[in-house]
Amino acid sequence: MRVLVCIKRVPAPGGKVLITEDGTDIDTRHLGFTIGPHEECAVEEAVQLVAEHGGHVTVLTAGPPEAEEQLRYALSMGANAGVLVEHGAHDPQATATALTETIRTLESEDGNFDLILFGNESADVGNYQVGIRVACALERPVVGGIKGIDVADESTHVLLHRENADGVEVYQAPLPAVAAVKEGLNLPRYPSIQGRLRAKKAPLRTVQPKTAPGGLRTVQLRQPPEKQHETVVLGYGADAADSVVDLLTEKGVV
């Protein structure tokens, strides 16, 4: 099967998020970049699906030229080809258009992707919509929040598992289909040294589609106000046990 994974270059999480002086973006001077955790699972899933059923994994990203680093990371995990859509904005409508146009081009050359995977939402901006917009534009079924994907050989549909508070819902979607996946779908592999070396040499394709801006425009970013409050220290070491149990009693949980 042919699988496409759309990934995004995002600042690596870890420390406190700083904002640039002009307030319009995240200050990434001290940060590395990574693939969002949801999308890393998407790449892993695609590689596993292809390992099981045969086929080909293409990774696609819309971002700055530096996003090549994330494409190569995905390639080092086992993806077969990478496409960089040069596109600067976080605008979800424009991004969706850029991706849709690129996918149409790719599909016109080599045929449809059976499955297109997105992260449920991007790790930095989190607009919760790009994958759905692309799926709608391509007129394909799409389900979000996916933590399990089953495809039978020669099957015309895919089973998509999603968690809710009560348990798991299983959706069936006809292929070709789109899924927006979540971390927990699998445990992504670490790239092997051979994988890295292979990815380093793999050719990448770059496209520059034209897009029009959408209706959502970021004005500025702000730090949320930190709530001022006091921490009550109940004690030190094992001696604190009594105070803790008093607290548990007070909260009515013991």
């Binding site: 709608c136 979607a173 425009r217």
Partner: protein, 326 residues
């Protein structure tokens, strides 16, 4: 008019929808337009509640498609209604469901959608603030378009009913586009079974780097069982293979809403904090009195989890026994 997408919570209007209704009423007052509501299926019983929040018309989206959730069909149906009634804004709670349906509907109408907003000011453009990364950052943004789609972060608005309920009419809308749509279908449901769900547990006992190993979680499990709670963990614990991902509390894991969150040996990176900040009280057990989670917690014990937890277990069991006897 403004349209509020109403979410069903066990047969009632969900709390998040009530917040969305409150926001919509305020915006509608500023814009001098009425508020309508939309719900899927036969939900006539919502009318009274919706009237109390100032809704003048409830549109029930009906048809075979409405029997079981399908994101594509429900999104398309909502889009069709929006066009049909000429709504200028659509508001829903930023639940997974709300975000998904609004994303579909906005995509189908070709309009912009701002998810996870905390404040909205209506005008020609809407000025809004949305949260990024589960609350790590705030983004001020402008939303333009003939129809504005907005989802509201839970807890951002205090729900407020009107002193005098609005007269409400209910009509039925049967969309056409759903018949031919390529879409997914729910084919199976598996309930969670025994055990307390992390997202709804009253008490969560959670462990991080300080727990040190998979075996180290045994005492956390004992405490969770004693308190009738669930076990959670930080990303470190998942990545180290000590716990399954389904236990992870945080930005990319589960966001909890417990009465008490007991964080054992978790220093509290921001990505973790946004997953547990919904807890009413937080007790942090950590060797480092300066760890971020300790300074943000309501209560703290400074010490090694491996010494503190067994002592708590022992005392708590003793306390329970005494209560049992009494």
């Amino acid at each position: 008019m403004l349209l509020v997408l109403v979410e069903d919570d066990s047969g009632a209007v969900s709390g998040g929808s009530q917040e969305a209704l409150t926001l919509a009423h305020g915006l509608a007052t500023d814009l001098n337009v009425p508020v309508h509501a939309a719900a899927f299926g036969t939900r006539g019983e919502f009318a009274a509640t919706l009237g109390a929040y100032g809704v003048s018309t409830l549109h029930l989206l009906e048809g075979p498609f409405a029997d079981a959730y399908s994101p594509e069909c429900w999104g398309a149906a909502l889009a069709e209604l929006v066009r049909h009634i000429g709504a200028i804004g659509v508001i829903a709670a930023a639940s997974e469901w709300g975000n998904e349906v609004l994303a579909h509907a906005s995509a189908r109408t070709g309009e912009a959608f701002a998810s996870n907003c905390v404040t909205v000011d209506a005008g020609q453009q809407w000025s809004l603030t949305r949260v990024r990364g589960g609350g790590m950052l705030l983004e001020d943004a402008e939303l333009a378009g003939a129809v504005k789609f907005v989802s509201l972060t839970p807890g951002a608005v205090e729900p407020a009913e009107l002193p005098i309920p609005q007269q409400i009419t209910t009509d039925s809308f049967v969309p056409e586009s759903t018949d031919t749509l390529v879409h997914s279908t729910i084919v199976d449901r598996k309930s969670r079974g025994a055990g307390v769900a992390l997202s709804t547990a009253r008490v969560v006992v959670s462990g991080g780097r300080g727990v040190g190993s998979a075996e180290g979680f045994e005492s956390l499990e004992e405490l969770a069982e004693l308190l009738g709670g669930a076990v959670g963990c930080s990303r470190v614990a998942t990545n180290s293979g000590w716990r399954p991902h389904s236990d992870q509390v945080g930005l990319t894991g589960t966001k909890i809403a417990a009465d008490l969150y007991i964080a054992c040996g978790i220093s509290g990176a921001t990505q973790h904090w946004v997953g547990c900040m919904g807890a009413k009280s937080i007790l942090a057990i950590n060797t480092d009195p300066e760890a971020p989670l300790v300074t943000r917690a309501d209560y703290a014990v400074i010490g090694d989890v491996h010494q503190v937890l067994p002592a708590i277990l022992e005392r708590a069991r003793a306390r329970k026994q005494v209560q049992g006897v009494a």
